[in-house]
């Protein structure tokens, strides 16, 4: 028959966080790792319920109750800080001598190792805690590497988008694409017309019905513009609600007059969104490459179309005007008037 000391020596090897309590709930022995958690405390003859707050099962209020939990999982934590949570299981000792309780950290092991400066010597060699700590670190390192990769990929995606020629919301060409096409047309000496279209009342839709409604309107606008133009024409979204249409091979205004009327009237068709009708209109200004003496500058033509658009807006919106010499913007007019 083993003595109590021999027996606790054996248990300490296997379960370094064991406790032996007597039938009154007072500690008789505590394992070395458990003692390390409260180095300044004298464990012997302290009451289990004074040191630990037993959280589950909730019906346990006395040592007699505790003995009845035999074999079930116990959830407890230290009453004093750090209130490390522990798991445990109780086995009654024969002849009413109390009980053996084995404790472990459970998931709180990560904090416990830090808080109490534990080493692998504090765990039984068969305990998987060290493997778990290893795994947590290994996975954190691997996750970090993956996160870095994701960040770099996101950066690459943004860079690729910057180099793209397509406006992702509408599927139309973007400003970069428009610049390239203008350069190509001017370089090859092809005649073309350039129409600058700006939506009217779009801001109201955005403000009252939200950005999602605004996005739906922009997508509808894009569809209308593509439908109203030929395959060889280019429709580009160059700003929030600004569009440029390039009509390749057009050298007289007549066809554009009819087209612009049809375009504006189609754009005025209300767009249903979320049970509401979004109503917008558009103003447009156009210039032709044949009205410019070579060498033709893309910037100058964009400016002419812009001035025509501006004049159309001023003339009461929902209109289309061709560029005419002498068209000016208000602030420019005001500035020159101020000078004269």
């Amino acid at each position: 028959m083993m003595t109590a000391d021999e027996m606790t020596g054996v248990i300490a090897q296997i379960c370094p966080m064991y406790l032996v309590v007597d039938s009154a709930g007072l500690f008789r022995f505590a394992g070395p790792t458990l003692q390390k958690l409260r180095p300044d405390m004298t464990w012997k003859r302290k009451n289990f319920f004074d040191v630990f707050d037993l959280q589950r099962p909730r019906w346990v209020n006395s040592m007699d109750d505790l003995l009845k939990t035999a074999g079930a999982k116990l959830h407890l934590q230290f009453r004093e800080s750090p209130q490390t949570s522990l798991k445990g299981v109780l086995v009654p000792l024969p002849d009413g001598q109390g009980a053996l309780i084995n404790l472990s950290f459970g998931i709180s092991v990560l904090e416990a190792v830090r808080d109490y400066d534990l080493t692998s010597a504090d765990f039984s060699p068969t305990d998987l805690t060290i493997e778990m700590l290893y795994l947590v670190e290994a996975k954190s390192a691997a996750m970090e590497a993956s996160r870095q990769l994701n960040l770099r990929l996101q950066g690459a995606k943004i860079a690729a988008e910057e180099q793209a020629f397509t406006d992702t919301l509408t599927g139309l060409k973007n400003r970069r694409a428009m610049d390239h096409i203008l350069e190509r047309l001017i370089g090859s000496g092809t005649d073309f017309a350039l129409m600058h279209v700006d939506l009217d009342f779009f801001k109201e839709v955005n403000d009252t019905l939200g950005h999602a409604a605004g996005d739906a309107v922009l997508q509808s606008v894009a569809r209308v513009m593509v439908e109203c133009t030929r395959h060889s024409d280019t429709v580009a979204r160059v700003g929030g609600d600004e569009f440029v249409i390039i009509f390749e091979g057009v050298n007289e205004p007549k066809v554009l007059e009819a087209l612009s009327k049809r375009l504006i009237s189609n754009l005025e068709e209300p767009v249903p969104y979320g049970g509401q009708m979004c109503k917008i209109s558009a103003s447009a200004g156009t210039t032709l490459s044949v009205w410019n003496a070579p060498p033709i500058a893309a910037a100058a033509m964009l400016h002419q179309a812009d001035l025509a658009l501006y004049a159309a807006k001023r003339a009461g919106r929902s209109q289309h005007l061709f560029f005419e010499q002498g068209m000016q913007k208000d602030e420019l007019q005001a500035a020159t008037q101020g000078q004269s």
Binding site: L110, E111, A112, V113, R114, D115, D117, L118, T119, S120, A121, I130, E131, L133, Y134, L135, V136, E137, A138, K139, S140, A141, A142, A145, S146, Q148, L149, R152
Partner: protein, 195 residues
């Protein structure tokens, strides 16, 4: 070859010889990129092109470069995570050596598609070991030489290592433990890492 392995060599070369040298090497390797990603897989051909370009540029034999890479992986603070993971293997150097049998499995626990060659430790007599590195990753034994040397420093032990060549297709490293606690090792706190 797994991106982690390529990336390890990149980290060693770039931090020892400079980023510029690494970029030159990758230009010569002509792979179309300059940075390996740790979490992607590269073909053996890509890795071999990089390794030969490294060898040409540094004008040193590849085994030596690989051994230095192994040392770098354990001793450089930049890759502290790996050293910590290796230290989980045991509380002293001998325990660490025995844990090497599990190294490929441990690596796979962390990164499921990282396959390292099997390692087997044979204890010939107390303090005298042979580490048998199975084939599968050319040069792995040389990297392990560097790792073993640096880990001995980490534990503060004095060891003699010798690459004994190839036996039955497997490379053999002999490890002789001359003195334990030869020097003060580096500390290792289980929970020091911020999660």
């Amino acid at each position: 070859m797994h991106g982690l392995i390529n990336r390890a060599i990149q980290a060693f070369v770039a931090s020892t010889y400079g980023e510029e040298r690494w970029n030159d090497i990758m230009n010569n390797a002509d792979l179309g990129f300059a940075q390996f990603e740790a979490m992607l897989i590269y073909t053996d051909e890509q890795s071999n092109k990089m390794l030969s370009a490294v060898e040409r540029s540094l004008e040193r034999p590849l085994p030596e470069i690989l051994e230095d890479t192994g040392t770098f992986l354990v001793s450089n603070p930049q890759v502290e995570a790996l050293r910590r993971l290796l230290r989980f293997g045991g509380v002293n150097y001998v325990e660490f050596l025995h844990s090497l049998d599990d190294l490929p499995d441990r690596a796979r626990l962390a990164v499921a598609d990282l396959h390292l060659p099997a390692l087997e430790l044979v204890e010939n007599s107390p303090g005298q070991f042979d580490l048998i590195c199975q084939p599968g990753l050319p040069g792995f034994a040389h990297v392990m030489m560097g790792v073993l040397r640096a880990m001995a420093d980490d534990y503060g032990d004095l060891v003699i290592l010798d690459h004994r060549g190839t036996q039955d297709g497997a490379e053999v490293i002999s490890v002789t433990l001359v003195e334990t606690d030869f020097a003060e090792g580096r500390t290792f706190d289980l929970g020091a890492h911020a999660l």
